[in-house]
Amino acid sequence: MDYFLELFLGGLTRGSIYALIALGYTMVYGIIELINFAHGEIYMIGAFTALIVSSVLAFAGMSGLSVLFLAASVAIIYSAAYGFTVEKIAYKPLRQAPRLSPLISAIGMSIFLQNYVMLAQTSDFLPFPNLLPELTFLESYGLMIGSSEFIILMTTAVSMVLLTVLIKFTKMGKAMRATAQDRNMAMLVGVDVNRTISYTFIIGSVLAAIGGVLIASHIGRINFYIGFIAGIKAFTAAVLGGIGSIPGAVLGAFILGWTESFATGYVSSDYEDVFAFVLLVLILIVRPSGLLGRSTVQKV
């Protein structure tokens, strides 16, 4: 039973990691029906920024929570700027173009950002300091769940709640929902569609940056390629849950995390990806639009 619980919690952590990234995919898809392949790169840039800032701060003699706070803030701002700029450069000019064009543009942006970071920084793996505090009250459960895992879970939960509030109860959220339903109609009734789309990208990037900082601290190493792999898995999670649906992305991420964790724990890690993708195929056969796809749940 302990073993089951450990695998369950491990899958939950992995799922929260995927969820933080998957939210960005699903939000952008929900609003402009674009699969933003550069999203994983934004996550990677967030992690790199946090690494640079925290190294500088550590060099200046700071330590503890203030480093985490400052590094995360800079990473969030920086990533948000990247998300905003990527949309303006790569997607906005193609808004009236056929749907395939922005998709290609997104893949190009992803490759560009990866190589840009590789050349500007390094192609080697870099150690990432553990910025997350050790929670003392967790010590008695230390074998079950570590501090960083707990913090990742909590952050994902809080982000999810804030995101739901933002979308359900604010003016910007209302504009987002309107744009998602019918962009032209929203424009006619006075919604600034371009601004709304920019906001969507910024929010997605903020979540990705938070994910980047947390996950890099948890894993302890980063390189320019981490965004690609995490991005593919998060994208899978988003599709599994029904792309365009926010609760769907979270649900999909958890299911993916658990599947992988239990497949490794009870069968063999050789088949980790096999199980994950077999499940994806099965779900898509039964529900082509994903678990909570657009037919049942309102997008964004």
Binding site: I219, R221, T264, S268
Partner: protein
């Protein structure tokens, strides 16, 4: 119509350029001895490939200073394969078409395996400084292949014997990264452990390289009660697994291979790296030729030698020396010279056996102590070399 016309003009230019290339090719090829250097020169495994490239450049410079080989200058043709099998075929084709006489490479076993067929068809002697997959020499499929590093089965035997005889563990988890190199090593380790009956393999699994975390597999190791882990693979995944094991307060012994015996591993895993064992090529840094090679590397490139530097240095020397001795760049002559004449290298005096393995090159066990790999002296290595 206009488009078609310009297309035709373009085509004719292409043909002219191609013909010019055909005539120019052999003319320059006669002037130099071309040493192809293939390996990972960029990407996440660049730290394995670049030292060999630097070594080749140093050796070429040294030979050129003494008047070259067969009276001709040595020229380095360097091509990057980023350690990917699918890129390596292109790399090999490129080197062949650029007229390489001998090739030093590739770095990773998987990439080497796919490239070797191309070199074989072109009749080019190929020597790797780091590809340790046993099949490359033992299958007999690649008579053109040589290497200055011992093969994985020797290394797997050392890892397994070290765990069973020196550390005296009874339950061992064997993991690998599903790659040619890691999986090969893990399978050999498992068969050695099972044959000896001194310990039990409690977990045998492949992990997914690059996954976001390895907590599930770490839980599984813990659950299995393994006292030691033998991991076949490279340092990025190894550091993740070690960090997660230590975070879970597991003190399971971690034993790995020369893919992990890299300073990047210590840098990334930090404190978690302490106490990790990794087998790697025998320490020959006290050899005067090795000291000279390392000093030349330092003064020319101002970096540490890095992984497989001395193996690369020895391979470049062996190749050029063989051409010198054979008085030809013909495949048969060079291959025969490699097997006949011993050459003084930083790894000691080496020549090659029938299969292409260097005689007298082996592995030792290292442990991370205070942030550096230190050679661990044990009785096991002696036994590891005999039975191959």
């Amino acid at each position: 119509m206009k488009i078609r016309l310009s297309g035709r003009v373009f085509l004719s230019w292409l043909i002219i350029a191609g013909l010019a290339g055909l005539f120019a090719g052999p003319a320059t090829a006669a002037d130099t001895i071309k040493l192809g250097v293939a390996g990972s020169h960029s990407g996440d495994l660049a730290s394995y490939g670049l030292p060999t490239k630097r070594a080749a450049e140093l050796v070429a410079r040294e030979f050129n200073a003494k008047g070259g080989v067969l009276g001709k200058k040595v020229e380095i043709l360097s091509e990057d394969d980023v350690c990917k099998p699918e890129v390596a075929t292109n790399t090999a084709t490129k080197l062949v078409s650029r007229g390489a006489h001998v090739v030093l490479g590739h770095i990773c076993s998987g990439a080497t395996k796919t490239a070797l067929g191309i070199y074989k068809d072109a009749g080019i002697v190929t020597m790797s400084s780091s590809a340790t997959n046993p099949e490359l020499t033992q299958s007999g499929k690649y008579p053109n292949f040589f290497r200055t590093i011992a093969s994985d089965d020797a290394q797997a035997k050392l890892d397994a014997d070290f765990a069973m005889n020196v550390l005296k563990v009874k339950k061992i988890a064997v993991l690998h990264d599903k790659g040619d190199y890691g999986k090969g090593l893990a399978e050999y380790a498992r068969s050695f452990i099972e044959a000896s009956k001194k310990a039990k393999v409690v977990v045998f699994e492949g992990i997914t390289p690059g996954a976001v975390d390895y907590s599930a597999v770490v839980n599984k190791i813990k659950q299995s009660g393994a006292e030691a882990v033998i991991y076949g693979g490279y340092h990025p995944e190894a550091s993740s697994i070690v960090i997660q094991m230590r975070k879970k307060k597991m003190d399971t012994i971690f034993i790995s291979d020369d893919g992990v015996k890299d300073d990047t591993f210590i840098k990334v895993a930090g404190k978690a790296a302490e106490g990790v064992y990794a087998s790697g090529p025998k320490d020959t840094t006290k050899n005067p030729l090795a000291i000279a090679a390392i000093a030349a590397n330092k003064s020319t490139y101002n970096t540490d030698p890095g992984a497989f530097f001395l193996n690369g240095y020895a391979a470049a020397q062996a190749l050029l020396n063989a051409i010198q001795k054979a008085k030809s760049t013909k495949y048969e002559a060079v291959a025969k010279a490699l097997r006949t004449y011993p050459v003084d290298t930083p790894l000691g005096k080496i020549k090659f056996d029938k299969r292409g393995d260097a005689i007298g090159v082996g592995f030792s066990m290292y442990q991370v102590r205070n942030g550096v790999y230190v050679e661990v002296t044990a009785a096991a290595p002696a036994a590891a070399k005999k039975k191959k």
